[in-house]
Amino acid sequence: MNRRWLLIIVLLVSVGVVAAILLSRLQVLAAPDQPISYSHRTHVQAGLQCLYCHTSALRSDIAGIPSLEKCMGCHSLIATDNTTVQTMAGYWQRGEPIPWTRVSKQPEFVYFSHQIHLKTGENCETCHGDIGRMSVTSASGKMDMGWCLDCHLKQPEDKIARLADCLTCHK
């Protein structure tokens, strides 16, 4: 009898752990909570280019998150009655940075450069998904190694040896 109960408990715990792992994976893909309900869709529909805010994507490894100064460059006049814009303006007035939760992140052991990918003619959407239609920003995929290689291995043959080399990303 005892043995059966033990078996059930062990099974339940195992199922729980597996479920937790799966859920946590799902959560990686889910849109995280943000301090301000910023909508990429609204901004892209208004005609903004990605590089207007993420200015350093062409010049640096990091695309960059716009400063509050940049936000206020437009929102001193535009949509000042919107409550979300007012929340943002509150940060500006207090001189506090907005603590955004990161959506897409490469691990510390990966060397990744926006500049290189944009110079080869890739679009932002190739990796970040259809972000121009997202009112809540979520990651487009797991952004793991398989996902990177999926694209790297489809490149012209003369480049594959270099693009599939470990040291290209794991320097």
């Binding site: 937790a20 695309a63 940075p97």
Partner: protein, 757 residues
């Protein structure tokens, strides 16, 4: 071998059980591994990365990429060029500017530690007023316009302008130019420039020496790099004296010159400094008798007609009163040694003798320095490669207006006026006189008699504690400026200083304060200082250099020049221009032979006190930087400490050993300090590094146990120059029964390694 077979072997079993916990079995290992894997799987759910973009991004900021700004180091008065690596608007690393003709890409430990001035947790973050009375250390934040209004009303209501005094340290050129203009417009006396560093390196005496020899107060540049034989008389030229980084670069060139010649360096001083340790020969001269050595060497060259033919005849008159034997006896240097050195010096193709700071710190300092400089004359090395040149002055009239070091006598005259109640308003900038002047000079009492004192220090130092108002300046990494390095390089140079980061706190550049004061006061001051802000003032002064044919770079427009000026880290000539001194006729008379005098009766006070300039803390201004405090002193390897160095013979006589606390007493003060037994010091000399013993100046400076050695120093001067004779105090040393174990990286005597004989 199977496990069972192994377990039969007792030795192997014991080894295995020692290395592995005996209870961990296969099943437990699997359980642990299972839990670890599950936890690892959950990690992404736990992590939440926050990114905080800038509210206002720094100029030229590119995320993840470093921006390097060229500027000028302000950790000592030398004026080396630096480049500062900044990322995300934060300064991360300071290096030497490879283009700068003075330091050529090199930088010393103090320069590297400049980041900790910027990020120091003890910086004042806004203007403050002392509310609990002066010395109470109770500060109340003050709104800047209110602070400026308070100061300008104090200036406006002075009964006479002479009742305003300005006491500063070796400041950058632009600050000095504005201060003198403002004081002149107000009708007040000129600013008083004095700090301990300038006293220890003998800056004011060096200027007077140049005046006597070359008819100009511009400091000489000794061309070490091209020299074959260098006689250094108490100049710790690889540590703190004058321009140590430039001199270290030149020393390297001298040792490993292109010609393959290895230059000879001989160091004369009572204690083996790090410079002496890098020399070929250290000659522990009797304190104050360095000049005698120089006189004797000169006399021998003349008498024996050594060296280059004809170069000595006209100089014979200089040594009329010199008796070599008497000089040898008075200096503790045998005649044979003197003769050997005279030959080496005179026979060398290029040789130079350097009168250093320790000489200037004696009561016969000027006579000694005259004797040393005369050696360069005797071997005809004035204005010759490997000899003596003069610093290039600033290339324009405004840039020639640089701070001269005032003498101790002049500071005492100001102190006297303060004591007599003749000063109503004292402004203190870039110096810490309460800590840096000998305690017996009475500055602490004098400052308490001044009704209103304003300090511009970014830190609450010993002098700022006596201020009513502290208007903290930016640190140098947040400031504008320029500096003409004096002593200079082998060509005309003006170093540029620019902010590498935005000011971290609500501080205000002192130059901005002066401009604002002038505007508030109106009238003459406003006319004398008409600039709207610091940058526009600099642009005007620096703009005068635009179009100069000498420049190392070309600019087509004034604004282009202003950009290049900041990018390069200054302005300098493309090619070498060494300024040859013109000899003053007045020196053709016998050199004075002046006996050293000391404060304190030799029977009561048997030892000479040598308060030396520390390579780590310089005159004490580095004491609030933990990187410097934890840097081992190069000779004793002590970290975070203060000590007195005793010769092993002296220590034996006193019955003390390493780390024993002794009392060091002079006619003017007494302090307790642990002993470091140091063979590299004369038995009749005890040495204490200056810079420790802070009562204020922040947590790191105050963390070190000890007293300020300036409490021992007698306020006596060399009568012929008025300079502080900081090396002319005698002391006695008494053992106590207590110990303070110093943190030392290495022991000098190899204790604990006796078995390795």
């Amino acid at each position: 071998m199977s496990w069972k077979a192994a377990s039969r072997n007792q030795d192997t079993l014991q080894t295995l059980t020692k290395k592995m916990p005996p209870t961990l079995r296969r099943r437990e290992f699997l359980k642990l591994a299972g839990v670890a894997t599950a936890t690892a799987g959950l990690v992404p759910a736990i992590h939440n990365f926050i990114i905080e973009p800038f509210v206002n991004p720094p100029e030229e900021e590119l995320p993840g990429q470093a921006t390097w700004y060229a500027s000028t180091c302000r950790q000592c008065p030398a004026g080396c060029g630096i480049v500062v690596r900044t990322i995300n608007g934060r300064a991360k690393k300071i290096e030497g500017n490879p283009l700068h003709p003075l330091n050529r890409g090199k930088l010393c430990a103090r320069g590297q530690a400049g980041l900790q001035v910027l990020y120091n947790p003890d910086r004042l973050r806004n203007a403050v007023r002392q509310v609990g009375g002066r010395g109470s250390r109770q500060f109340e934040a003050l709104y800047w316009p209110e602070a400026l209004e308070l100061l300008s009303s104090k200036i406006a209501t002075l009964s006479r302008p002479e009742r305003l005094a300005f006491l500063g340290g070796m400041m950058p050129g632009h600050a000095y130019l504005l201060i003198t203009r403002l004081l002149e417009a107000l009708g007040a006396g000129p600013p008083m420039i004095y700090d301990l560093q300038s006293a220890l390196e003998g800056r004011s005496v060096a200027a007077q020496l140049s005046q006597t020899f070359f008819g100009t107060p511009d400091l000489p540049v000794y061309d070490l790099s091209q020299s074959d034989v260098v006689l250094s008389f108490g100049a710790n030229l690889l540590e703190t004296w004058m321009s140590p980084v430039a001199q270290s670069v030149a020393y390297g060139a001298m040792r490993q010159g292109l010609m393959g010649n290895r230059g000879l360096l001989v160091q004369f001083e009572p204690r083996l400094s790090a410079t002496a340790a890098s020399a070929d020969e250290w000659i522990p001269v009797r304190p104050g008798a360095e000049g005698f050595v120089a006189l004797a060497i000169g006399r021998i060259i003349i008498e024996e007609r050594l060296g280059h033919v004809g170069s000595y005849r006209s100089q014979a008159v200089l040594y009329q009163n010199v008796d070599v034997r008497a000089m040898a006896a008075a200096s503790d240097v045998p005649v044979d040694t003197l003769r050997r050195l005279a030959r080496a010096f005179a026979d060398a193709d290029r040789a130079v003798a350097i009168p250093g700071g320790y000489l200037a710190g004696q009561r016969n300092g000027f006579a000694s320095m005259l004797a040393v400089q005369a050696l360069n004359l005797v071997v005809a090395q004035v204005g010759r490669e490997g000899g003596v040149f003069l610093s290039n002055p600033g290339p324009t009239a405004s840039l020639q207006h640089n701070p001269p070091a005032n003498t101790f006598d002049e500071v005492m005259e100001l102190t006297g006026r303060m004591k007599a109640g003749e000063i109503d308003l004292l402004l203190v900038y870039g110096t810490n006189p309460v800590f840096e002047l000998p305690a017996a000079a009475g500055f602490a009492e004098a400052i308490s008699r001044v009704p209103f004192v304003v300090s511009f220090s970014p830190f609450v130092d010993e002098t700022a504690v006596w201020a009513d108002l502290i208007l903290p300046d930016h640190t140098y990494l947040e400031s504008w400026g320029y500096q003409v390095p004096l002593p200079g390089a082998d060509r005309p140079v003006v170093s540029s200083q620019q902010p590498v980061v935005r000011p971290l706190y609500d501080t205000l550049s002192t130059v901005e304060v002066l401009l604002e004061l002038a505007a508030r006061l109106g009238g003459k001051p406003a006319e004398a200082l008409p600039w709207e802000d610091e940058a526009s003032f600099l642009e005007e002064i620096i703009g005068e250099l635009f179009g100069s044919s000498l420049a190392a770079y070309d600019a087509r427009t004034p604004s282009g020049f202003w950009a290049l000026w900041r990018q390069y880290g200054g302005w300098w000539s493309e090619r070498t221009i060494q300024r040859e001194p013109e000899l003053n006729e007045a020196i053709q008379k016998p050199l004075p032979v002046s006996d050293p005098q000391f404060e304190g009766n030799p029977d009561d006070y048997p030892f000479h006190l040598y308060p030396y300039s520390s390579i780590i803390l310089s005159d004490g201004r580095g004491a609030n930087l933990p990187w410097l405090q934890e840097t081992p002193d190069p000779m004793t390897t002590v970290q975070w400490g203060m000590w007195v160095e005793l010769n092993p013979i002296t220590a034996n006589l006193l019955g003390v050993s390493d780390d024993d606390i002794v009392q060091v007493e002079s006619p003017h003060g007494i302090l307790e300090v642990p002993v470091v037994i140091y063979p590299g010091i004369r038995p009749d000399v005890v040495a204490i590094p200056v810079g420790q013993g802070h009562q204020d100046y922040g947590r790191f400076a105050q963390a070190v146990k000890g007293s300020n050695p300036m409490e021992l120093v007698a306020p006596v001067t060399d009568l012929s120059t008025g300079a502080l004779a900081w090396g002319a105090t005698r002391v006695r040393v008494k053992p106590t029964t207590r110990k303070q174990v110093l943190a030392r990286l290495e022991s000098l005597d190899g204790k604990g390694r006796e078995t390795l004989e």
